[in-house]
Symmetry: C2
Subunit: 393 residues, 2 copies
């Protein structure tokens, strides 16, 4: 369980298989985001059809509504959302620091205001771990102190130190829950059955440190000293810093990352970023871009993004993306999709979301194939030549 | 083509098969409504999964946006909306009299204002027939003058007379288009290929007359004198009159309707109305109720409507409808569906719309089975006992 096997490399790019309780995942992999226990506008059947292998859900959102106790009563997260393949939950750290009305941060944790009902709530490393345990995803994330994008070294240092102390507390609580589960399983009854996950869960640490390479490398070293992890996330990038700086950070981190650990770059999901990050050794990604952009009428295609609302598509009988095998592209014309958006029909939101998710999943598959041929660099160059070509639109 | 075979009767209720260019339809049948060329929140795949056999699209809406010429360029309505089974288009009469900013009605037709861009447009019997020909549905409807619900006999008489004159004009234009098609097909080229439908089309008359039985029976007699039709629609009911009055009108019309013609009761679709109308000899129905109510969180179940937003469903692990085989009921709990509505997730709108459409299609199938056993009356009584039972909610 929680094994990661690298099957081929091409430069820094790698392809492999991650084994999780609910199934195996081929990397590089893109995770669609199911913020509130649903990938917006898509059903589990759509996700299966799109080839999704791993889905992310947001602990903060599910804690606030409907509450992890409700999710547990409805059979935990897999059963709740009708998704029987691997799931990952974030820790809520990013959300409480960026979305919620933040009230107070101290060594214990974060007090914040619910965006749903304004109620005051507290997340600590222990609570975030317990909530994720209750949700029951395959992979849980450690609760981190996220410094604002562009934070100076002192601020970033403080956040890093606190994140490391919180990581110890998360890991301790997670071990306790796993032990409890074993005790409950073996001795029957010392833990309430409803507190037992059907499957084991792993906890991944998050590396912070902003755009300060020194902090990143120190953070990495200390994370690795703190335990024997099954994966590692890189947080605090793609939060507003210039893209070249993100790429540089990844490039300089890559040789220092232990090869056997899968690497998850949090919140990254535009096609050009996926390609650049895989080129720098990243294995997992999540982002709301395919669904959010899809709902705005923007579709990924091999020739770059297309805005389906544009008048040029009015009588266009061609599919959105001639190379794509998704339901949207094999069934409907650009003209029909434009009509759905102009007429504000719900089906349009779904069809473009579906295509964009499928696009990123096919992109990941194309990258895996290029890595297996040990030709990732040439493939990426060719891909960029087409995707980033200058266009009139 | 356009054959209707009655296979069994039970009292006034009948079950049969309607053969159309794009397939056969078992009656009684419920048609989901695809107003703008899409059944709101549902894909053609959803409709197939729900067992839909015949779908309705609105001529008025498609004429106004994107325009029938655009639909034609994108391969006509079937290709446009990705639905390869039978389609019916209404004539736009109901919409221009009830939805659009009405400007002027005279013997020639109706001038109205587009709800999309405020432009002035004119629909005449000929134009309505041509637009539907261009859209290319299996069944087109005659353009009718719809009198307001509760109109006095004089007003209803005027509307009826005009509807009969307009029916002659619709039928003449439709014959001309069909002849043109034959000429075009046989002699190759006298009609533009893009003006040729792939399939033949039939035109159905609409019986008006409000709640005045005398006008209804006279209208029926004169419609039957005007031609040899393949079906007959009953319009101007379910427009605000008391339900018992609608049922009485159907009951008194039924023995006068020619048995071999399929009977389409326009705009009717609540479960109790379907059962009552089938009991009075009706074969086809359409209504936005299943999708509109679904988007509002209201679901049909054998025990009556359920409002999924209610707090009682919060931790309810049961499906919406334990008897139902739709994706919604076989995959998700009431608790999850409630969460989707409370959290304003798009998937909720789709899942309840899908269930409600499937519910009405299963209801029609149950009615066909009861008719075949010649036990419709007892079945309907039992169905009503359960569906209309007094409830606390």
């Amino acid at each position: 369980m929680f094994e990661f096997t690298i099957e081929a490399t091409s430069g820094a790019a790698r392809t492999g298989t991650l084994t999780l309780p609910h199934g195996t995942v081929e990397t590089p992999v893109f995770m669609p985001v199911g913020t509130q226990g649903t990938v917006r506008a898509l059903s589990p059947g759509d996700l299966r059809a799109a080839g999704a292998e791993l889905v992310l859900a947001n602990t903060y959102h599910l804690h606030v509504r409907p509450g992890e106790q409700v999710v547990e009563k409805l059979g935990r997260l897999h059963r709740f959302m009708g998704w029987d393949r691997p799931l990952l939950t974030d820790s809520g750290g990013f959300q409480v620091f960026s979305l919620a009305g933040l009230r107070r941060v101290d060594e214990d944790g974060v007090e914040f205001q619910s965006h749903v009902d304004g109620s005051r709530r507290t997340l600590t490393p222990e609570r975030a771990t317990e909530i994720q345990w209750t949700l029951g995803a395959d992979i849980a994330m450690a609760f981190d102190h996220v410094a604002p994008g562009g934070a100076d070294e002192g601020t970033a240092r403080d956040a890093l130190e606190r994140t490391l102390r919180w990581l110890e507390r998360c890991a301790k609580r997670h071990r306790g829950l796993m032990e409890g589960r074993k005790v409950g399983t073996l001795e029957g009854g010392s833990v309430q059955p409803s507190n037992l996950p059907t499957f084991p869960q792993t906890l991944w640490p998050i590396l912070q440190g902003g755009t300060h390479l020194k902090l990143r490398t120190e953070g990495l070293r200390r994370i690795l000293e703190l335990g024997s992890w099954t994966g590692l996330a890189i947080g605090g990038l793609s939060v507003g810093e210039p893209k070249p700086l993100m790429y540089e950070m990844l490039e300089r981190l890559a040789p220092r990352l232990p090869a056997p650990l899968p690497r998850y770059l949090m919140g990254v999901g535009f096609p050009e970023d996926l390609v650049a990050a895989v080129e720098r050794g990243v294995d997992l990604f999540d982002c709301v871009a395919p669904t959010r952009n899809g709902r705005n009428g923007s579709a990924f295609t091999p020739d770059g993004p297309v805005n389906i609302r544009n008048a040029e598509h009015r009588e266009d009988a061609r599919p959105l993306d001639e190379a794509c095998d998704c339901e949207t592209c094999t069934t409907f014309s650009r003209g029909y999709l434009r009509h759905l958006f102009v007429a504000e029909e719900l089906l349009g939101l779904r069809l473009l979301s579906l295509h964009n998710v499928r696009y990123l999943i096919r992109l990941a598959a194309a990258m895996r194939a290029a890595i297996r041929r040990n030709a990732f660099g040439a493939w990426a160059e060719e891909w960029r030549r087409r995707y980033l070509q200058p266009r009139s639109a």
